[in-house]
Symmetry: C2
Subunit: 229 residues, 2 copies
Amino acid sequence: MDTSQTIVRKSLHHELVDRLQTLILNSELKPGTKVPEKQLCDQFGVSRTPLREALKVLATYGLVRLEPNRGAWVTQVTEAEVEEVFPVLGALEALSGELACARITDAEIEEVRALHAQMVQSYQNRDLDAYFIVNQQIHRAILMAARNGTLTTSCEALSLRMQRARYLANMSESRWSDAVQEHEKILHHLAARDGAKLAETLLHHMDAKRASVIKWLQSQRDDSPSGLA
Amino acid sequence: MDTSQTIVRKSLHHELVDRLQTLILNSELKPGTKVPEKQLCDQFGVSRTPLREALKVLATYGLVRLEPNRGAWVTQVTEAEVEEVFPVLGALEALSGELACARITDAEIEEVRALHAQMVQSYQNRDLDAYFIVNQQIHRAILMAARNGTLTTSCEALSLRMQRARYLANMSESRWSDAVQEHEKILHHLAARDGAKLAETLLHHMDAKRASVIKWLQSQRDDSPSGLA
DNA sequence: CAACGTAATTTTGAATTCATAATTAAGTCA
DNA sequence: TGACTTAATTATGAATTCAAAATTACGTTG
């Protein structure tokens, strides 16, 4: 709900940050490959200057790695990174839950409840894509209710890193079922405005997600041994 | 004092990020003022391209704000920002404490103990500058012991934002005394490898710091009413 | 033919240039 | 004088250029 009259003027480099982010998250730029600078310039119809500025920013997000004199490379999600990021994300989501319980309005709770119903519906339909979109919306709604922009930025930056590739679009049937039950709890504690319980649940939720992603990464690793073509 | 001979493996823009960061933290670039692009280019002997790349990165750290067609401005620490950042920093430091307890070596505990003794000494000497440096080293040592690079990066980015200007170099006598006592506890729980207690203590420590900084900001605000010269 | 060294090509990093937007200065008129 | 226009100046954003580094292609030699 942005009611401000200010004209949003996006600079080119900012626009490119968004576009490149999308390309990376959609794996149109593949992990481990080199960012094709010249090709992207042609594709977007821009010069190298703003594109390179955008790459510097994406490097701070950890989406690309800059190698001096060798260009930018799309980073890969490693097991080590997942083991690092999820605990941090867990702590931040837990805080988000606590703050949200203190500040969320009744109307916002109803919004989350509606999203939750949608999510359950997607689960029952076994529509994974829809499920993940609504799932994210729920976490985002709680984050918004926490009324802390810094927390939002931090969470989203880390989430972004975990969203590369399609790990999250892969869950075992049992994990999926568990996740839905965890979300039942999340909604319950949020509606009761029980910050401590919500924090605890979100922490557990994140840890379970971590384990699930790790499992998937390992299965991927075993499927295709590195270095062979 | 020209230290530019150290530039070897770092790209120019990265070096400039560091240099500008230093200028901002030392208030050589003052909050609320415009970043003098041309002057800095002359000063560092570089062209605008790498400098502007660095500014894009600093904007993601929240140290400068980019206004389209109007240049980069050094951001100010506001009360609202402090109220946002410290809770997040608290959650992260708490996690850092928990992880550190699980992973820290005996040797590292002794290092922290030594730093702590140094800090107490600085306190007794009423040497605020020395105190703050050692204080930071202690927090950093715990962070290192947590063995989580993502956590380190996140914490340091937020700490950086709170380090602008000299807020932290200002404490009431009673707050200083309390802070030292909190640090006694921190050392104690760390040495006992009691993660839960350490987390709790760090959380409280951060909240007290938040209150102290807010108090100082308010006194500053009352001293010099905004908008008047 | 494989390993090495060298030349050609491409890519990168950074300076420079150029068009445009913003700011400042100067001029006009009530 | 002071508000409003308009011109001159300056600063910004982005394209282009250029030197240096890396990569590739090629040829030589053992």
